[in-house]
Symmetry: none
Subunit: 204 residues, 4 copies
Amino acid sequence: MNAEERKKQILEVAKRLFSKNGYYETQISDIVEAADIARGTVYQYFKNKDDIFATLLDSFYRQWEQAVSQGINEISIRTIDPVDYFRHRVRMTLVFFEGDREMCNIVLRMGHGLQRDFEAIMKKIEKRIYNLIMSDLELGIRAGNVRRDLNVELTANLLDGALLHIAYHYFVNKKGEKAAVDIEKLAGEVTAVFRDGIFCVPKQ
Amino acid sequence: MNAEERKKQILEVAKRLFSKNGYYETQISDIVEAADIARGTVYQYFKNKDDIFATLLDSFYRQWEQAVSQGINEISIRTIDPVDYFRHRVRMTLVFFEGDREMCNIVLRMGHGLQRDFEAIMKKIEKRIYNLIMSDLELGIRAGNVRRDLNVELTANLLDGALLHIAYHYFVNKKGEKAAVDIEKLAGEVTAVFRDGIFCVPKQ
Amino acid sequence: MNAEERKKQILEVAKRLFSKNGYYETQISDIVEAADIARGTVYQYFKNKDDIFATLLDSFYRQWEQAVSQGINEISIRTIDPVDYFRHRVRMTLVFFEGDREMCNIVLRMGHGLQRDFEAIMKKIEKRIYNLIMSDLELGIRAGNVRRDLNVELTANLLDGALLHIAYHYFVNKKGEKAAVDIEKLAGEVTAVFRDGIFCVPKQ
Amino acid sequence: MNAEERKKQILEVAKRLFSKNGYYETQISDIVEAADIARGTVYQYFKNKDDIFATLLDSFYRQWEQAVSQGINEISIRTIDPVDYFRHRVRMTLVFFEGDREMCNIVLRMGHGLQRDFEAIMKKIEKRIYNLIMSDLELGIRAGNVRRDLNVELTANLLDGALLHIAYHYFVNKKGEKAAVDIEKLAGEVTAVFRDGIFCVPKQ
DNA sequence: TATGAATGAGTATTCATTCAT
DNA sequence: GATGAATGAATACTCATTCAT
């Protein structure tokens, strides 16, 4: 096993344990035991326990950055139907969180409660999500698709909280249930609830 | 200072510190130092550190229970305008969280990330909020005020996440800012966003 | 309740708890709770926890002193049959220990293991018992009733250990059993085992 | 120093301190200081303080088990002279206790006073010693060597208490004295005291 | 690189004792 | 005398981190 693989292995194990037991209730002992490596090996690849956790958060942030930037540019928001665009954003968000339920759990459940240096990373993630929604809304207003009188700060927080909570509810809490979640249908229903409140479109 | 007051004093100090630094980063030493009492005194009133935290969560839950049960009964939901009722609920929720920003911070920020026995209390709080929204929606459907085709599970989570996130955003994150939050206005705007997506009312 | 009675009450309660749980596992809290008095009250009557225990040991020692000195003097040892005398001593010892099984338990079970100042008191008790047996044996030798070649140091220890162990076995360990112990019979049997080994008497 | 040696080292140091100061008056601090190791090292080898003590008691029990089972079987008791056999048992017991005076001190002095889980181990040791004596006596009765009318329960306790007390007296209390104890002579004298009271042999 | 024994600062908790009321 | 809230020194135990092999 080369260095890259070993580092990845440790991260995988740590992610599983952090997700299950939280940062403080996960010991280095648990990680080395689960990974079946020596205590010292962890410190060959990470400065300390914080570093492992921060690495996980950071890589999550990078993946999120990449995911939300995919296939969307200023052109498309002008050409496609704004409600379709909204639905697409919602679906993409849900798809992303579904992709890594353990990180989803870590970020959604314990993100806010983290002290130390993690708080900064979490704020960065939050800020990024928030800004994205904000810019979408502001673009929509300029394009005449979104109600001019909308309180964008409020709405951005509304959507932020709503989407993350749904992701948590369907992908973490209801994890054990048999029936797979139909994300397409979910995205449609979320859009339906918000459409008339946000967009300047004829009532269906 | 009698027993009741001393216990209350410890809880106040602990609440402030837990809110600021989280459960794990708050030491008994910090509490006794901030309260200017002896180490042992804490243990005259609480079994252990867990007990202090659980007492805070529990009392928060009890207050919330009382707050949401006030002035609303099955009659009123039939007589008052459903949208006004919704706005009222939103306002009450925000007023409640604004009333104790430290507990608001504790519950909203670190609630989910808590392991141990606290998880059970948090789940109870969440469940209670969720059920309240659910029952409101179901009553509305039966009364013909809420869209029949609404996915209530989804919408309850949507509203849950949205409201708590807004409370966190305006009462915890922006705490330092000068301008006081106009809760009445906020409640109106939240209602406006959700109204057409949830209720069977003529578009304004 | 006057001062004398209150002190006695505390001693009784403490004795019961020390006997049941040992010195270290008995807390002042346990004592005040069982006696239904305030914490501070204990310290009106005793200097500290040690003082309570030492008082118990000391009073036990005094009672023992008195008991063994009763009805025996140098005359009687010359006139009565030496074996009868031995049997009488054995019986008196057993009767004494049976009289206060809790102190019996404390002295026999935890006596040796005690550190601190108690060790001195225990040594005093042991020494007193040991010396008594020694002097009996030496008197017997001078009177020609006890074998001249007997190792009195060894025999005194033999008898000491044997008697205390029997007291412990029949009065503490077997405490719960229905059938009362027949001390008269016991004393006879103990005497029978030791008689020929110790005394210069014709074999029966 | 490998793991086995380190564990042994800690046990040795702990044994010395427990023997000197008792269980409750021996602190982990004392142990790590005496062993010149770090506080945490103790917990690499033992679950907690109880575990160290229990390990000592248990290993003592195991050694005793092995010692008493050596070289004696049902055959020998029938062929060798019963009094010689008795003397042999006494000598072996004394030799065993002399071999580890610190454990001797722990078991004989503080054994009975121990609460917690140690009580169970101590009872096991006591029971084992008691049963051994009992079975010897019963075998002797069946072989016609021991008086038929002997109260075996009483006698077993008599011998148990007597032997342990002698071991304590000669190996713990008089430890400092110059003249070494002549165990052979001691065993002979003990036998002489009990011989006529226990065995059916012509009076010498 | 990998190991895992050793480290020791840090933390919660206990409990005998005091003292103002 | 009686009370019991307050005290704080003492103690067991944890766990991230180091470093010689």
